[in-house]
């Protein structure tokens, strides 16, 4: 039932009022305290170094993994501090459908009511998923679109371990890869953007360095080292996010807490001793009376317990001495830790990666060296997490030239492989662009040939002064020379128009009114007349939009014919008479051909049918 209780805490009926509010409050406190303090308090509350010998290795792996997952959640979760409701709804649907295909009712019951009753729920659902119709053995379900797998977040805070495993398997099937998905970044709002400091603050870097160091020892066969694959994967995830988000300035510039306690003038060790000397010592520094009273009570209880123990057994004195000795050792370790973190805070993230910090005795190897050794070890073992580590190393290489040269000297194949992949990608992109450009040119040339052929056959543009039209005509002649026969769309008989006694064949075109084409700027100008004879406007030199020009030319022709009618001149009936005056025409070609006799026959049959219906 404890497990049920824990699941209920993150259940869809309550997580927006319980889990999310708790995380938001912790995020606010992390901002106020600063990332270093916050992580240290969390580490002590989770009893990470203390609880390990008291529990089984399996339990230790779970608690350690949950602790890292908790830090990652606080650092990157933006549900209450930056994400819009629409973005939140989209993420929820994607994350739920990533685990399994769900019906509408199942999906709406798995997310909180605030989002399930959102008016854009169905719209968002249709954007991210496709509906699979019901079959005899299965009800209709929604399936995540393949493109939406890029938005998948493996470390969704509301996932159980089972959900995470299911979603990872489906992601790998969809992407056809064995790699874990890359980290997902969410935009933050206002002062909550400083939460990124949790990812790259010195304390977190120290934790990550220890994890990777222990993983390296574990792979080399050290019996004391024990890091689970899950913890290593989360640590890589955090490092990838830190590499992407860390600034190039010193870490201390971006990880300062809002609330700054007064810097103690005495050393931390003396502070500890002074706080233990008397009850009033702590109360003088601390304004909170409750905490001081807690401390005084605890001191009194400790003294009472010590007195009882001394009365009971004299051997305990030796144990207390040992405890005091261990406490002093811990204090020495703490002082070294403080010195190391002070030094690390003055460095930038890139400098921290390559700095061994030997002066404080904290790190014998630079962080980057540990990562490189771990990469070699994982490559030999064929680990699935190597892709993410490879991505991290390449990102580190891109950030800083010094680190890049170090990675290049240690792992030349990694950089070479990256450059080869980049060059291959560039070549492929260039080849694809060239292919598309050639294809587009071929299509344009074909259209020009067909239109020019049509215009020549209709006799409208027999005299052209434009050299470009001359080129187009010559190219159309070449096209006609190449293409001998055209197939009629009605009788399906191929005809060579150049053959003697051949049937007349032409393009099928749709001619219709178009007011938009009439707005062509050049043709809106008044025509110039030389006396009473209409003068044809020179064809514009820019004939990119051939259809527009042809339509404008036909409009001009129609206007010319109208003026000729007014002068009682004889005109032959043309198709332009069917178009109203003042409009322009738009001619569209489908690319098919038809015999003139077939066209007449078709119209005749239409008329006969119409008369039959009327009679």
């Amino acid at each position: 039932m404890a497990l049920v209780k824990q699941l209920l805490y993150r259940h869809h009926t309550s997580y927006d009022d319980t889990f999310e509010l708790d995380i938001f409050l912790l995020q606010a406190c992390a901002l106020l305290l600063g990332p270093d303090k916050f992580i240290d308090i969390c580490q002590r509350r989770f009893m990470i170094p203390v609880i390990r010998p008291q529990i089984s290795p399996t339990q230790w792996h779970i608690i350690f993994r949950e602790w890292l997952m908790f830090l990652l959640t606080v650092a990157k979760e933006r549900t209450k501090c930056g994400m819009s409701t629409q973005a939140l709804l989209r993420r929820e649907i994607i994350q739920r459908l990533a685990t399994t295909d769900l019906s509408y009712s199942q999906l709406s019951s798995q997310i909180c009511r605030r989002l399930a009753t959102h008016p854009e729920f169905e719209t968002t659902l249709n954007q991210v998923a496709t509906y699979q119709s019901a079959t005899e053995t299965r009800s209709g379900v929604y399936q995540l679109r393949p493109s939406c797998w890029d938005e998948f977040d493996l470390y969704f805070p509301l996932y159980t371990s089972r959900d995470q495993q299911l979603a990872l398997e489906r992601y790998q099937d969809a992407k056809k890869t064995k790699a874990t998905p890359p980290p997902r970044y969410y935009d933050s709002y206002g002062e909550f953007a400083a939460l990124d400091g949790l990812l790259y603050c010195p304390t977190m870097c120290d934790i990550l360095c220890r994890i990777f160091g222990e993983a390296l020892l574990q792979r080399s066969g050290a019996p004391s080292a024990d890091v689970s694959e899950g913890a290593l994967s989360i640590a890589l995830h955090i490092l990838a996010m830190a590499t992407a988000r860390a600034p190039r300035t010193p870490i201390a510039d971006t990880t300062r807490p809002i609330l700054v306690s007064e810097t103690p003038k005495r050393t931390p060790k003396s502070c500890l001793r002074r706080s233990g000397d008397g009850d009033n010592a702590n109360a003088a520094d601390d304004d909170d009376a409750d905490l001081a009273s807690f401390h005084s009570r605890h001191r009194a209880e400790q003294e009472q317990d010590a007195a009882d123990k001394s009365d009971d057994d004299d051997d305990n004195d030796d144990d207390e001495k040992e405890d005091d000795y261990e406490q002093e050792e811990e204090e020495d370790d703490d002082e070294q830790l403080v010195r190391a973190r002070r030094m690390a805070a003055k460095l930038s993230f890139d400098e921290y990666l390559r700095t061994p910090l030997n002066s404080s005795g904290r790190m014998e190897l630079p962080f980057l060296s540990i990562l490189l050794l771990l990469y070699r070890s994982m490559k030999n073992d064929g680990d699935n997490a190597i892709e993410l580590l490879k991505t991290v190393l390449l990102a580190i290489s891109d950030r800083d030239p010094t680190n890049s040269s170090a990675i290049r000297s240690a792992l030349p194949e990694l950089i070479t492989e990256q450059e080869q992949q980049r060059k291959a990608a560039e070549d492929a992109a260039k080849a694809r662009k060239d292919l598309l450009r050639r294809r587009q040119q071929e299509i344009l040339a074909r259209f020009k040939n067909q239109q020019q052929t049509f215009l020549e056959s209709s006799g409208e543009l027999s005299e052209s002064t434009s050299g470009r039209e001359h080129d187009a005509r010559s190219s159309s002649d070449e096209a006609l020379h190449n293409v001998r026969e055209f197939e009629c769309a009605l009788c399906h008989v191929s005809t060579d128009p150049s053959a003697p006694n051949a049937k007349i064949i032409g393009h099928i075109s749709l001619v219709q009114r178009n007011r938009i084409v009439a707005l062509s700027s050049e043709y809106d100008q008044p025509l110039e007349h030389a006396g009473n004879a209409p003068q044809r406007r020179p064809h514009p030199s820019r004939v990119d939009l051939l259809l527009t020009n042809v339509a404008a030319a036909t409009q001009e022709q129609a206007q010319t014919l109208d003026r000729q009618e007014d002068d009682d001149m004889h005109t032959e009936p043309t198709p332009w008479h069917n178009i109203n005056r003042g409009d322009s025409v738009d001619i569209k070609f489908c690319g098919h051909h038809i015999h003139l006799s077939c066209l007449y026959g078709y119209f005749t049959s239409l008329c006969e049918t119409y008369e039959t219906v009327l009679l």
Partner: protein
């Protein structure tokens, strides 16, 4: 339902955290009472969320009226939500597997019952503000 922790179970120590000196409340989640129900903290979180990200858009320090040199109050504020997270991780690690019936007696979160949601929350908010 709040769990009142006996004062003897708590102690205060000054510990070194990073480059700063921070007070830390000694508390063993695995051995001392912890509850999932922290409604006052959640009301405060809702208040902060509305104030910092709503129409007011005020800084958190001004919303909480905090002294910038005194993180003690924040250290206490962080305690209960953090204990909930620790308890959750311990439950997942099967550290509480023998306490099944004990956990069964706890009431579900108030969000499930609208009546409790309206009454207990308002009562606790009143008590907290007074």
């Amino acid at each position: 339902m709040m769990v009142y922790v006996p004062a003897s179970a708590l102690s205060l120590s000054l510990s070194l955290t990073g480059v700063y000196l921070v007070q830390f409340i000694n508390y063993n989640v695995a051995a001392l009472p912890v509850s999932f129900h922290i409604p006052l903290h959640r009301i405060l979180a809702g208040y902060l969320h509305s104030g910092a990200l709503g129409s007011l858009k005020a800084p958190i320090t001004s919303l909480l009226q905090l002294d910038r040199r005194d993180p003690t109050w924040v250290v206490k504020l962080i305690e209960h939500p953090l204990r909930v997270q620790v308890l959750g991780s311990q439950i997942l690690a099967n550290l509480w597997v023998r306490n099944g019936t004990t956990m069964l007696r706890q009431v579900p979160p108030p969000r499930i019952h609208p009546f409790i949601h309206s009454s207990i929350y308002s009562f606790m908010l009143t008590a907290w503000l007074s």
